[in-house]
């Protein structure tokens, strides 16, 4: 973990209520896809944990959904705004476990970390298949970004207004063979993927956090491998340890 100041480089609306923010600053402390950052916002007591979508040495890209006052405030930030950010939080996904064909499944606000993961897996020479799940067509984002990096991309919408109609699991038939499953999204989706997936896998969980770096025990969960803190020992849990 590192604490440093980042500068907003851009903050644009990608889809209904969804924003992409590029933060200039030390991106080197991000060590794995699926990690998150914790942002201090003026006027808010607790930091806001947001997953890392993509990063390089000089910047971090995050995508966030406006769901409350904190994210509402974030959407108003303009280029040049400075933010106190804790980076390199959480374990992230282990790309070494993917086998040769990884299936990545992201739902809604769970799509962003899956993008950073897809990019790293492809860079490691692996085949990547992606299922992106949304409620409606106007919520869809990053479909082209995934295609551009060479991921075989399937999109589902609950109302059928774009791509395959239904939930992410409705796309499993079209996906074909894969060797490992990576997922991030709301818990009901994770559970459905867990049940539908034929392989080993890694699942990224969300919980209301206090500190985001393992000090307060605010986000503990029980696993088959003992009590874990979603912020520090997670957010990614392996399939074998998950207790629903």
């Amino acid at each position: 973990m590192e604490q440093s100041i980042f500068t907003v480089k851009s903050n644009v609306c990608l889809a209904k209520g969804v924003y992409e923010m590029i933060l200039g600053g030390n991106g080197k402390s991000v060590t794995a896809p699926g990690q998150f950052i914790n942002i201090k916002l003026d006027g808010f007591y607790l930091r806001r944990p947001i997953s890392v979508c993509d990063w390089n040495d000089e910047s971090i890209t995050i995508i966030y959904k406006v769901v409350g006052k904190g994210t509402e405030y974030m959407a108003t930030l303009e280029e040049g705004a400075q933010l106190d950010v804790l980076t390199g939080l959480g374990n992230g996904y282990d790309t070494s476990k993917s086998g040769d064909t990884a299936l990545l499944i992201g739902g809604g606000a769970g799509v962003p970390p899956v993008y950073g993961l897809a990019k790293r897996l492809i860079a490691e020479g692996k085949k990547v298949k992606v299922i992106l799940g949304f409620n409606t067509a106007d919520e869809v984002f990053y479909e082209d970004n995934f295609k551009d990096i060479g991921a075989e991309t399937f999109v589902t919408t609950v109302d059928g207004s774009h791509g395959i109609k239904g939930f992410v699991t409705n796309a499993f038939e079209a996906v074909g063979e894969y060797t490992h499953t990576y997922s991030c999204g709301p818990e009901p989706m994770l559970k459905a993927v867990y049940n539908a997936s034929a392989t080993s896998g890694q699942y990224s969980f969300e919980e209301r956090m206090g500190c985001g770096f393992g000090a307060c025990m605010g986000c503990s969960c029980k696993t088959k491998y003992g009590n874990k803190r979603i912020c520090k020992d997670g957010p990614v849990l392996v399939k074998e340890e998950i207790i629903w």
Binding site: M1, Q3, Y45, L46, R208, A215, M217, C221, N227
Partner: protein
């Protein structure tokens, strides 16, 4: 050179800053960030006789200038704390540490304190009497002078190290409880624990926290804490550890003027992991600004 040293129950500390229990784990997360030996000491995660997972999640709710937590004393139990956590802690912290203890019966408190008292690393026992007494109808030990005194006596009978009783602010008369602890043999009083609070989510129309209620902490509670430290200082002759919403060197000085010999920093650690180090670094400068040369001389100075 200004003097930042203080003395708590006979143990010298290089400065009065103590991360509060439950906001600093067993120190390792912070030891990755800075050398935690700069701290006066720290109070480790509340330890109970048996292992506890704590409450269901969500356990955290945000407030204006503060937060509510209902972690529920998650800890691995005293045996594991001694066999696993303390040896790991020894690698990153060489000063005497404050052992924070909770219990659900008088026997629990005595059992856990007796075990921790025997550990060389432990300098003080900080006994949290805010827990519900399962044999006493669920009322917190800290809400009655008699129950708080009973815990104090039981712990004092089986220990040799300074016993500091950590009081709950959720009481009608904190002074009578502090006095009862002093009469029962307490070596110090620490206050305040969190204020009982609650938030309701307007979208779900239900409490934010699974446990419904939790402990409110953060800068919002600072004035309540200063007031209670001030009142207790007037009533007892044992040292006081002041806490509640402290987040700056100025707050530390204010708390000492109210009557604290040492000061704990709680929720602020969760927002800014470097806050205790920064407070310690800022103390001399802020002392100079207010014409203070020796922190020991300002304890209770506002009276």
């Amino acid at each position: 050179m200004v003097k930042t040293a203080t003395n708590l129950c006979g143990i010298e500390m290089t400065n009065p800053v103590i991360p509060a229990s439950g906001t600093f784990g067993y120190g390792y997360e912070f030891a990755e960030l800075y050398d935690i030996n700069c701290l006066g000491t720290f109070s480790f995660k509340g330890t109970t006789k048996d292992p506890r997972f704590g409450n269901p999640t969500p356990r955290i709710a945000e407030c204006s200038a503060g937060m509510i937590n209902a972690v529920g004393l998650q800890n691995p139990g005293v045996e594991k704390v001694i066999s696993e956590e303390l040896p790991r802690l020894a690698e990153c912290f060489s000063k005497p540490v404050m052992a924070n203890v909770s219990g659900f019966s008088v026997e629990d408190y005595a059992y856990t304190c007796e075990k921790l008292d025997k550990c060389d690393q432990v300098g003080w026992l900080e006994v949290n009497v805010s827990c519900p007494n399962v044999h006493g109808g669920g009322m917190s030990f800290g809400t009655s002078p008699e129950a708080a005194a009973e815990v104090t006596k039981a712990v004092k009978a089986v220990t040799t190290k300074p016993v500091i009783i950590k009081l709950s602010p959720n009481v009608t008369d904190i002074v009578s409880i502090a006095k009862a602890c002093e009469e029962a043999g307490a070596d110090g009083i620490s206050l305040i624990n969190t204020l009982l609070g609650m938030r309701i989510d307007l979208k779900t129309k239900k409490p934010v926290i699974a446990n419904k209620m939790g402990g409110f902490s953060g800068s919002a509670i600072f004035p309540v804490a200063v007031r209670m430290v001030y009142q207790v200082y007037d009533a007892v002759n044992i040292p006081i550890v002041g806490m509640g919403g402290v987040s700056s060197a100025e707050d530390v000085i204010e708390m000492m003027l109210a009557g604290a010999s040492a000061v704990q920093v709680g929720a602020a650690n969760l927002i800014d992991p470097f806050v205790c180090r920064d407070i310690i670094n800022n103390l001399p400068k802020v002392m100079e600004k207010y014409g203070i040369t020796d922190l020991k001389e300002i304890i209770g100075g506002a009276h």
